[in-house]
């Protein structure tokens, strides 16, 4: 019983971390119809930034600075690698995204020299506590709460603020949004800023559970968060969040059984099943390809 409780708790927590990455995928897809392959690697860079900065400055400085620098990275990637291709075929932008992904991995390889880098132990959230008798870390409890708060704030932003309404308008129709006076590029940048901010927060929670960061650290969580976004219906924020929690919980529960080695395979089997059975995901709209 204690074992199961702790498994479910870690599953929810892992799901919350995936959710923070998945929102970035789904928002960028919603507005640009682009699968931002570099998103997982930005998440990894956030981890490395924390590794380097926490050795030279106090944690309460390095955490906000890490978040700011990661957001800046997301902003710069969009401006440098995607914006110039705004009227190019979508495939070109996808290829550019793959290019950015490998670029970040290679830069990370260069910076780390291929050595795994020890992640800082963040005070308080790394502490051990007991929930219903099951030992776990504070981060396990903090993650879902923080995710819910952030998702509620994001939903309020998208539903009730001017920039949020503009984001929804731009996601449907660039040209008409421009006729309203919307600067498309600012709205797209805002989308990347929000997505990267959430991924940076997610990296803090995620890497606290892992001893080290390596250049490939973003690949698998990025891919799983992407599957979560597809599962929930890519373009839909609630879909991405629910998809992420389901994947996080299933993955953790499978890890606790004799089939632990198949936990990753499960996620991708799920992707294939979804694509075959319901390609639009749980909350997805019918594919309305942009003209």
């Amino acid at each position: 019983m204690e074992f199961l409780t702790s498994q479910i708790l870690s599953g929810i927590s892992l799901g919350g971390q995936y959710a923070l990455i998945a929102i970035g995928y789904t928002m960028v897809y919603g507005i640009l119809r682009l699968i931002n392959f570099a998103h997982g690697d930005v998440f990894m860079v956030a981890g490395l930034l924390m590794v380097y900065m926490s050795t030279v400055m106090p944690i309460y400085v390095s955490i906000p600075l890490m978040i700011v620098l990661t957001v800046l990275l997301g902003f710069v990637i969009e401006r440098a690698a995607y914006k110039p291709l705004r009227s190019a075929p979508r495939m070109s932008v996808m290829i550019s995204a793959i290019g950015v992904s490998y670029l970040l991995q290679n830069l990370a390889l260069y910076a780390t020299g291929g050595q795994p880098k020890t992640y800082a132990s963040i005070p308080w959230i790394s502490n051990t506590i007991h929930i219903f008798g099951a030992p776990t870390r504070v981060v396990t409890v903090v993650t879902p709460i923080l995710v819910i708060i952030l998702v509620v704030l994001l939903t309020l932003l998208i539903n009730h603020t001017k920039i949020g309404i503009a984001m929804r308008a731009v996601s449907k129709d660039f040209e008409t949004s421009q006729l309203m006076g919307v600067k498309i590029n600012s709205v797209i940048s805002a989308t990347f800023v929000i997505g990267t901010f959430l991924a940076a927060v997610g990296s803090l929670l995620y890497f606290t559970n892992y001893p080290t960061v390596v250049p490939m650290s973003g690949a698998l969580p990025g891919l799983k968060a992407f599957v979560a976004a597809v599962f929930g219906g890519i373009g839909s924020i609630p879909g991405a969040v629910i998809g992420a929690f389901i994947i996080g919980i299933c993955e953790t529960l499978i890890k606790g059984t004799d089939f632990a080695v198949f936990s990753d395979a499960f996620t991708f089997a799920l992707l294939i099943i979804i694509l075959v059975v319901k390609p639009t995901g749980i909350f997805g709209e019918k594919t309305t390809d942009k003209v």
Partner: protein
């Protein structure tokens, strides 16, 4: 005589080498309804999109109250007081009626209460459907919303691209009534139509555009009497 507010001169626009607009000149006088009629592919939408800043002309000039609009971004043109109701209405289907109106006032920072009321007064049907998604409205209601949305920017010049397209005759009459009402309220109108009859009846001045060139320019009702125009655009043969 009223002043010319919009002055298009020798406008050339091409899409990848193919000329869509070939040196047209149009004057729109303040407070008037001016129409630009012409068959499909004549270059009407291209002309309006050039004014709105959505396409970059090859050469020529578009002056609004003396200010050159070519080279300005669409948001600057909206700020200057020029708004386009695009062809096919293009309401945001995933936004509510009210949110669509809110988008129309995107660049404004002042209070919008009176403007919502004004639009709802013009289009009571929109008030009833305030919280409905625009994608679920009928074609006529979407056109009303598109016009209402444009009014939310407090324009001085409103350009409409085929507002009657695909609408039932009764709804078309409503739309033209609204156009006159808006005009009486002091807004200059530049109207594009394939439905030449209604447009010529409504307009103070009319231009005929054929394959990128202006071929006629007369008072609206005058043009309505013209035999060649009747033949080409009103489906009547020479009596």
């Amino acid at each position: 005589m009223s002043d010319t507010v919009l002055e298009i001169k020798d406008l050339y626009v091409s899409y990848g080498g193919i000329e869509a607009v070939k040196g047209i000149s149009i004057d729109v006088h303040e407070g008037k309804i001016v129409t630009l009629i012409g068959s499909n592919g004549a270059g009407k939408s291209t002309t309006l999109k050039s004014v709105a800043g959505l396409v970059k002309p090859k050469s020529g000039s578009i002056k609004y109250k003396g200010q050159e609009l070519i080279g300005l971004s669409p948001d600057k043109i909206v700020s200057a007081g020029v708004v386009l109701v695009p062809e096919g209405r293009r309401v945001f289907p995933n936004l509510t009626v009210k949110e669509n109106l809110r988008m129309g006032a995107y660049l404004r920072k002042d209070d919008l209460t009176a403007d919502y009321e004004y639009v709802y007064e013009l289009f009571p049907r929109l008030k009833e459907r305030e919280w409905q998604l625009a994608g679920t409205l009928s074609g006529g209601e979407q056109q009303m919303l598109a016009v209402g949305r444009a009014l939310m920017s407090k324009p001085e010049l409103i350009m409409m691209d085929e507002p009657s397209l695909g609408l039932a005759p009764l709804v078309v009459q409503d739309i033209f009534k609204i156009i006159k009402t808006i005009n009486k309220a002091g807004i200059t109108v530049l109207l594009i139509e394939q439905n030449a009859f209604m447009a010529l009846e409504t307009a103070d001045w009319a231009y005929v555009l054929e394959t990128g060139e202006i071929t006629h320019s007369r008072e609206g009702l005058d043009l309505l009497e013209d035999n060649t125009i009747q033949e080409a655009y009103l489906g009547k043969s020479k009596a």
